[in-house]
Amino acid sequence: MDLFIVNTLSGLTYGMLLFLMASGLSIVFGLMRIINLAHGSFFLFGSYVAYAMVSRGMNFWLALLLATICVTVLAFLLEKFLISRFHGNEASQVLLTLGLIFVIGDISLWIWGGDFLSIPVPSIMDFSFAINESSFPIYRLFVIAIGIACAVLLWYFETKTKVGMIVRAGVDDMEMVGALGFNIRLIFTAVFLFGAALAAIGGVLSGPILGMYPKMEFEILVNSLVIVLIGGLGSWKGAFIGAILIGIIDSFGKIYLPDVSVLLIFVVMVIVLMFKPTGLFGRVES
């Protein structure tokens, strides 16, 4: 029973990290029809930047803030000068963002080398709490809390605010929103930056748990893509449910079916897509 709780919690932790990444990916796609394959690079770059600051003695929380700002600025530049040129051109977006993965990945490799790095757990949370015989690190519980807080925040934005209303309308019909006099460019940029910031937060928070290593962005990216496909493109709710599902499957799969655990999440994806090609909460036609 202890083991069950611990596994569920660590599955949730991983799921929440993926949620921070996948929700941005999903919203950006839903609104802009842009598949930003470099989203995983934002995640990894964020954690590298935070590592650089923390290893020079900076406070973890300040590093989290600065790394997020840093990634957001990077995302702003990329969106303004590169990605915005290719609205509506799927093939070019795919290639462009693929190219960005290699550029960002190689620059990270250049600066931080190819070794496995990790950010130390912030000292204020460097202890565990006991569950009967077992124990669970408090930091991971904090990550779960952040993930849920983000979900609540997204829910609030989407349903209760005017911005959320515009974005919701935009997912359904962007042209009409533009015709009603809203500044589409500004909305696009804002949503893109918000997604990048979420990915960066996820990346920094994952630093003490998953660590950083070259080509990690591909792994994170593929897992997030699976989540987005399962949950349905354009829906953060789908990303939330999908992320929890994938996190738990991953966590239990590694214990009970270690040989095929890596396959499990893809099997789930295939099954979901067979019965619901748009994903669980997706409205975007494929």
């Binding site: 290639l95 190219g99 250049w110 496909l229």
Partner: protein, 331 residues
């Protein structure tokens, strides 16, 4: 048909002639170029003629490579090994294609990517075939009557398959099947209305492309004597995607040029700097930013510019007023 045969013969002659004009080191590299060219051509088929953008094409290459590497412990005849590589990867293409082709565009891309990553992780984790280290072999192509050992004969061996693959693809593209496929890419709704079974065309092309990529993977093992999970990686899938794009989409020969340019660049730049990956990414971005087709289209444009045009006198809007002869007088 006649044109295809002539083009194929021309290609065969140039492949035969190449070893006489280049150094042995370049020959070694060219063998790799030809293998990657088969791989790139197969992706070029589904992307340039089928409109199916795949980020998972390395799956078939890797399956072909592993088929040969693993089976070569038990048998050596290429008449069994290469068909095995083609059939196994073709079957995988059929299985995954049936799921992936239900979706279009970005969905297709993401699903193919997911399948490839699945294989990558599976082969890296599983202890069955060497895990992350991959599986080595010492197989030489055994033709039954002779064994291929020298680099030169390996080049010709690969060259035969390259020319054959080109010929098959050329026939396919010009056949009603290929034309239907292209029609679907250009206007799917119309083809459906005309009574074409769209998915069938796409599946056939996908399986053909998968089989050829498997063949390329099999040949790759004959050259490198090694298959590793890296063959399945997204990196590999991206590499071949770049080849297709550098060379030119929507043409058969474009990906071949792309493969050549890419491998030469990679080899020369890698000797100069460790930052090949960075340069490749930048190259990619530049190609996308100035995307007016690949090298092949560029060459066609240049030849069009260079060929003597009629001398025309135009008005300010560019409309032709009169045709001039060389001395500038009106004809």
């Amino acid at each position: 048909m006649k044109k295809s045969i002539i083009a194929t013969l021309l290609l065969a002659v140039s492949v035969c002639a190449l070893p006489f004009v280049i150094s042995p080191f370049v020959l070694f590299m060219l063998t790799e170029v030809l293998i990657m060219a088969i791989f790139a051509m197969s992706l070029g088929l589904i992307m340039g003629y089928g409109g199916l953008q795949s980020l998972g094409h390395s799956a078939f290459f890797g399956i072909g490579a592993y088929s040969v590497a693993v089976l070569s412990e038990h048998l050596t005849s290429i008449y069994l090994l290469l068909p095995a590589a083609i059939i196994i990867s073709g079957l995988f293409a059929l299985l995954t294609g049936l799921i992936a082709i239900r979706n279009k565009g970005i969905f297709f891309l993401m699903i193919t990517l997911a399948f490839t990553q699945m294989l990558f992780l599976l082969f890296r984790q599983s202890d069955l075939w060497g895990g992350a280290d991959g599986v080595g072999t010492s197989v030489k192509p055994n033709l039954g009557f002779m064994e291929i050992a020298s680099p030169l004969s390996l080049f010709y061996f690969v060259g035969v398959f390259f020319v054959l693959a080109y010929f098959i693809l050329r026939l396919f593209v010009n056949s009603p099947l290929g034309k239907g496929l292209k029609g679907i890419m250009e206007n799917e709704g119309r083809m459906v209305a005309l009574g074409y079974h769209v998915k069938k065309y796409q599946i056939i092309a996908y399986v053909l492309a998968g089989g050829l990529a498997g063949l390329a993977g099999g040949l790759y093992v004959f050259k490198t004597q090694f298959a590793s999970p890296e063959l399945f990686s997204v990196h590999m899938a991206t590499t071949v995607l770049i080849m297709v794009f550098i060379g030119g989409m929507g043409t058969l020969f474009g990906p071949v040029i792309g493969a050549g340019v890419f491998i030469f660049l990679q080899n020369y730049i890698s000797t100069m700097t460790d930052r090949w990956s960075l340069i490749m990414g930048l190259l990619f971005i530049v190609i996308v930013l100035y995307n007016r087709g690949g090298i092949l289209q560029l060459l066609q444009l240049i030849t069009k510019k260079l060929t003597p045009k009629k001398n025309l006198l135009m008005d300010k809007k560019g409309a032709t007023i009169i045709e001039l002869n060389e001395s500038g007088k009106a004809k």
